[in-house]
Amino acid sequence: MSPHLRKKVVVVGHGMVGHRFVTAAIERGLTETHDIVVFGEEPRPAYDRVALTSFFEVGAEALSFLPSGAYEDPRVTLRTGTTVVEIDAAAQTVMLADGEEMAYDELVLATGAAPFVPPVPGAELGNVFVYRTIEDLEAIREAAKTAKAGAVIGGGLLGLEAANALHQLGVETHVVELAPRLMAVQVDDAGGATLKRHIEKLGLTVHTGVMTESISPDALADISVVDEDESGVLDGNVSALKFKDVEEPLAVDMVVFSAGIRPRDALARAAGLDLAERGGVLVDEQCRSSDPHVWAIGECAAPGGKMYGLVAPGYDMAEVVADALLGGAGTFTGADMSTKLKLLGVDVASFGDAHGTTDECLELTYSDAVTGVYKKLVISEDGTRLLGGVLVGDASAYGLLRPMVASGMALPENPEELILPQSTGGGGGIQLPPEAQICSCNNVTRGDIEAAVDNGCESAAEVTKTTKAGSTCGSCKVQVKKIVEDYFTAQGKTVDTSLCEHFSMTRAELFDVVLIHGYKTFDQIIEAHGTGRGCDLCKPAVASILASQLNGHVLAKENRKLQDTNDAYLANLQKNGSYSVVPRIPGGEITPEGLIVIGEVAKEFGLYTKITGGQRIDMFGARMEDLPAIWKRLVDAGFESGHAYGKSLRTVKSCVGSTWCRYGVQDSVGLAIMLETRYRGLRSPHKLKGGVSGCARECAEARGKDFGVIATEKGWNLYVGGNGGAIPAHAQLLAGDLTTEELVRYLDRFLMYYVRTADRLQRTSTWIDSLDGGLDRVREVVVDDVLGLGTELEAAMARHTETYFDEWKATLEDPEKLRRFVSFVNAPEIPDPNISFGSTRGQIVPDVADGPAVVGPVGLGATIPVGAPNLEESR
């Protein structure tokens, strides 16, 4: 063999671990000497199976690890939709389903695991599924469209995840578990019972301690084939589950098996490789099988005889083999099987020796049946070390407790404080050692996090970007943030969250202070809680807080000095000192008469007209002193303020929907008008925009809005946190298939929660990102109502809608407010000579002699960033 000849690595299986192996091989330089060929049985490249359930929400593309379908490194070939059917270890070849053979120098098996389907009669019926691939989920979604009730067989981690999916798909869901408790592997009896209560509260039915004896086909099959066809296999769709020792069968039209997984080791078995006793390709610490040129990684492998059903150990194995093929000595010696997840909105975590199997260990438990919280710590006999634990209902302490187990550090004096309710998960004064692994998914220690800060990371988000800590399962995020903040503090750096020099509070804190004290004016607030006389930062923020709480008129005498540029004159200031006028056109629907009025007004006052990006019409070039006369005409014709000037609801954009569109499934225009009318005038930390689309084609671009609604066959999907602008974001699903009533309830809560707790000039997307727990937290508060704030938030919104009035109409009725709309106090009849207009394409345009206002004339020595988004400036 000539020395320059490249060698070939064949990888069987392109799942999570196979993909990780390829990227590790590329990064470590294996492709300098080796060609890699990967065969994947699934029709698509590897995707994030851990996040499989979110497929319903985000689609296949978003889950993909390789959306382009190919690796950038040309020395790697990926062949999807291709199954390896045989290994000839002696000849060092593999055979594909179509008979093609391929030789290898090294073979890496990454075939994963398959769901275990117990040999129950009827398991082969139609509408019986497993939960492993995107294709499985597509089939489940299809069946759920017509199914009324479904059962998930298996109450473990994956079973509950599948149950969650069925529930979300609107199917009445039953969980059937053989063991006496849910999640038997991870939690103990008391934890399982707490979990069961949580899940039943959501409307799912849990059957524990029952054994499924058979699955019965539907009546149709009964008649036509008399239960069995020629092959002896049952035909038709499922209609019921029959349990052992239970009289009454459970009527269901679909079943999902989730009764555990089995390593896919058939290829290895046929090739004569050694297998572990309980399945899986037996490999050594370098993940090498009994054949020196065959390696196995991920769920198909059993290092030291034990298989691991989690992705992190598989990733470690992938790295070890890439290293070994380069002559490295890395080893895989076992993995931390700790887990934290959210199942049906319930936090569940288990870590270390969760079942207290260590000799003479002690258990410490905290349980609160009312709130559904159960926590258990397993502690060494001498009380000095934490060995493991279980958390249900509130797993915020997980990020601290898991590394405490792993690092073996000494327990604090009163270990019970670690699980008492007031513990925030930050863990008070506890300092983990630098080598404590904080992120187990990506193996990042406290020391790594601090080093990232030393190397210039300015926030937890940046640390996550550079170290990957927190980017996989997310369970360590709180802890990462805490370490970053503590480290900043230790260095004397403060993270300044004060509003401005006059208020050392955040906007959210100020909001609460104003609410608790019932303040009505800025003067009261700054005297009691601030210093100086305020500025252009805090005054509009206070104005917004007062307006959200009291819904008074923004130009009321005591508070009008607080109003920002646009609010001060209820119009948008333009570059030459003139204003624009935007009447509200709810949902973008307008009558011919309405259009004519707008046309006439614009003509009469000589205004420039343009259709805005928000589906309405803007009239530009109004002189301040003309605003009342313009609005008189508009108000008389039935128009209201469009609040284009306010930090408040702008528009709820609509598509034409089921009224006209042949695809529409709901009346999107009607809903958009209803929502825009409901939330008009609501003052908020930043502007708010909504959208409603009549079907999934999404012509209203609802997912680009702060709240977006998309019609489904069954109702409405509600998305939140979308944003166009400088940092675009797609809105994420908050809840699906809602009735209009549920939708409005969740939106009321969502918007009020935002109004109360966001920072000034924080759009919903950045606000959600800033919350501990992000969107999940929002869902807990808004949908699950864990803070019990639901009714209060709804009442606050009810107050807003009841007290809404059109502020332009009210202004026209009050001479005191109109007094300010003059060009010059001493010469109201003279228009400001500084405002003049030219003409372009047949309409007026501002005449600003010195060019665009943002470009400071050089002679003035101004230093204004040109073109950079000015985040302070916004209306």
Partner: protein, 115 residues
Amino acid sequence: MTQTQTQTYISVCRLDDIDPETGIAALVRGEAVAVFRTLDDRVFALSNFDPYGHASVLARGIVGTRGEVPFVASPLLKQPFALETGLCLDDPSVSVPTYEVEVVDGEVRIGAQRA
């Protein structure tokens, strides 16, 4: 002397016409002048013209304090100008002209542009 000075002042409005901590625009000898009143009833007069935005708008800005210094933030791009001196607080090489101003018998009177 008192006589000539009185003649150069022009009465523009009553103090009560200006809400505390706000401004109004007045036309003085053909120039737009922004007149501000602070909480302690002091009165300041600046050119209404924003040198950054090139528009006559300063009277419509928010009035506040930075440290002890009373200022107005331009409603266009928020540059802060000290009410007493007209200096831009973020860039002392830029300033707006200021005017003599006094309150006599509740009348606000604007004098000459300061040098």
